[in-house]
């Protein structure tokens, strides 16, 4: 690390060229379009802006998105730890297939995930039918929305924890056990603190993804304003379809700020994490 910063003259060629190309492509393909949203929303007066984002269905959609994404991220952290633990620490037949399948929500198009989950949990679906007989309705409720968000968020958490768990030496756990700590105590006091930064990163990524999710959510959630199952992305799309660009950009701006804050937080955690691993 230190060596890198002392070395001022660059030996490897291509700095100017790669910098130019990177900045040019990044600006034109990503930053300029996003700035357009910013510029357009700046044209609104503060009153207009406040009025647009405090409409009842907009506030409801933010509540729904934040609440469901948070709960889904917590569920994912719980099962994510179990899955990562099982995949790293145990040997059993079919482990490789299981490890590969974790990636499925990344690879499966969101619209496909959306319609198949919606069908699966509907009153006529394989899982929805028995649950409906028990009086549990899943499709077109917040529970359905939650299931879709758990589905798409899972790989973020598992893939964040796995590498840290791989590096963690089981000797520490053995030492704790020999010193008389129980299994739960060993896990909470020895393993969990090591996993914490990775867990937060995974939590943040899953939450951010859940906040912005559109394709996998819109079919199963039912998008009812009355039942408060509209997510923010759906409301933006609805406004776009009604050519209400002012409304859409105002909501988008709030969303951009939220995802920017999450990104900042994740980056800070990662910097702390790399400091810890580098200097200890």
């Amino acid at each position: 690390m230190v060596k890198k910063y002392i070395k001022k003259d660059r030996v490897i060629p291509g700095f100017g060229l790669t910098m130019g190309i990177t900045l040019l492509m990044l600006s034109f393909l990503v930053l300029l379009p996003l700035l357009s949203v910013l510029v357009f929303s700046m044209r609104l007066t503060p009153q207009e802006f406040i009025q647009l984002i405090t409409k009842e269905n907009v506030i409801n959609s933010f509540q729904t998105s934040i609440l469901c994404s948070l709960i889904a991220a917590v569920i994912n952290c719980f099962f994510g730890i179990i899955l990562a633990w099982v995949l790293v620490r145990y040997e059993f037949p079919g482990k490789r297939i299981m490890d590969g399948l974790i990636e499925l929500p990344f690879a499966l198009p969101t619209a496909v995930a959306g319609i198949t989950l919606s069908k699966l949990y509907s009153d006529t679906g394989i899982l929805g039918k028995p649950l409906a007989q028990l009086g549990l309705k899943i499709s077109y409720t917040k529970v359905g929305l939650l299931i879709a968000l758990v589905f798409i968020g899972l790989p973020f958490v598992v893939r964040a924890i796995q590498p840290v768990l791989e590096k963690l030496d089981p000797q520490y756990e053995e030492a704790a056990y020999i010193l008389g700590a129980g299994r739960i105590r060993t896990f909470v006091k020895v393993v969990l603190p090591e996993l914490k930064p990775a867990l937060w990163t995974g939590f943040g990524l899953a939450f951010a993804r859940g906040m912005g999710e559109y394709g996998s959510v819109i079919y199963i959630s039912g998008n009812s304003a009355k039942e408060k199952t509209q997510v923010v992305s759906y409301v933006i799309m609805q406004k776009l379809n009604y050519v209400d660009y002012a409304g859409a950009t105002a909501i988008a701006l709030v969303m951009l700020i939220i995802s920017f804050l999450i990104l900042l937080l994740i980056n800070m955690i990662q910097i702390c994490q790399s400091r810890r691993t580098n200097y200890i």
């Binding site: 198009p109 496909v112 990524l205 660009y245």
Partner: protein
């Protein structure tokens, strides 16, 4: 004592494995199987018929076009950006890396909106495009046309290749490239002979992941594409079929989905093969 602990941890092991298997079976495997079962529920002739419609074929072509362009652009960008970020030290590197990752963390719907606000009726670039159109007597449209679909696809898959290569290049360091440069090798020669062999598998995986995401993009394209049979991609076609609501069209939606499911499974298998290849190579270096 010792055997007691052994059998106890064995018990926990199998409980945890069972929980994991059950969770994954319900959450991941069942939806996958459900697509295939639903798509074949009206028989194979119906399945083939619903794949062979004018709309589906058009959507397939649009999807492939957008995916190919997005993958080419992002692969080029990914390599260049990864080289910049891992081979040089400069101020603001962290910020640059974070900016590249932006599309990863924002809603695809907002990506669609961003292009509408740039090139749409109210967008600042709209008047420039009109001028170009008048000047050259052409009729270029960006939003609600193919260029918009392509741009949105590039946007959402922008960081995919660079994300895969950067960690590999970081781990490799810069010593080999520096030595080669000091001995007088040109930049491109260094890349081809030294850097490329290191990133081969990561690059390939990035490209595969980028392709998968490009083929499956929905939210961003949905905001920018409104003409079924012209600018619709496969996910949009699935959406249209599913929302049509009749049991025939829903089955057709699953039939079209099955193409994308096959693609998703291929991606996962390819990833595992690539990981195995990369691991094998690493092992050889260590021994």
């Amino acid at each position: 004592m010792k055997s007691n602990r052994k059998s106890g941890s064995q018990g926990i092991k199998w409980v945890l494995i069972s929980v994991s298997v059950l969770f994954m079976a319900i959450m991941l495997v069942l939806p996958l199987v459900s697509v295939i079962v639903n798509s074949l529920s009206l028989g194979i002739p119906f399945y083939l018929k619903s794949l062979h419609t004018e709309y589906t074929l058009s959507a397939l072509m649009v999807t492939l076009l957008a995916a190919v362009i997005a993958v080419l652009v992002n692969t080029f960008f990914g390599i260049v950006a990864a080289w910049l970020i891992t081979k040089f030290s400069f101020k603001g590197k962290q910020t640059l890396a974070a900016l590249i990752d932006i599309p990863f963390s924002i809603s695809p719907v907002i990506a669609g909106l961003a292009f509408l606000m740039t090139f749409g009726r109210l967008g600042w670039a709209n008047s420039y495009i009109n001028q170009i159109n008048q000047l050259f007597g052409v009729d270029i449209k960006i939003v609600f046309a193919l260029p918009g679909v392509v741009l949105a696809t590039i946007f959402v898959t922008f960081p995919f290749v660079s994300r895969e290569i950067i960690p590999v290049l970081h781990a490799q360091g810069t010593d080999e490239e520096e030595a080669a440069a000091l001995m007088g090798a040109s930049g491109f020669y260094i890349f081809r002979k030294i850097t490329f062999p290191h990133i081969k598998w990561a690059l390939l995986y990035g490209v595969i992941l980028c392709t998968a995401r490009a083929l499956g993009e929905f939210g961003a394209v949905n905001a920018l594409s409104k003409a079924r049979g012209k600018t619709f991609t496969l996910p949009l076609e699935i959406d249209a079929l599913y929302l049509a609501g009749s049991s025939d069209s829903i089955t057709a939606a699953f039939a079209v989905s099955s193409i994308l499911v096959i693609m998703a499974v291929t991606v996962i298998v390819a990833r595992n093969i690539l990981e195995y290849q990369a691991g094998k190579k690493q092992g050889r270096y260590e021994s």
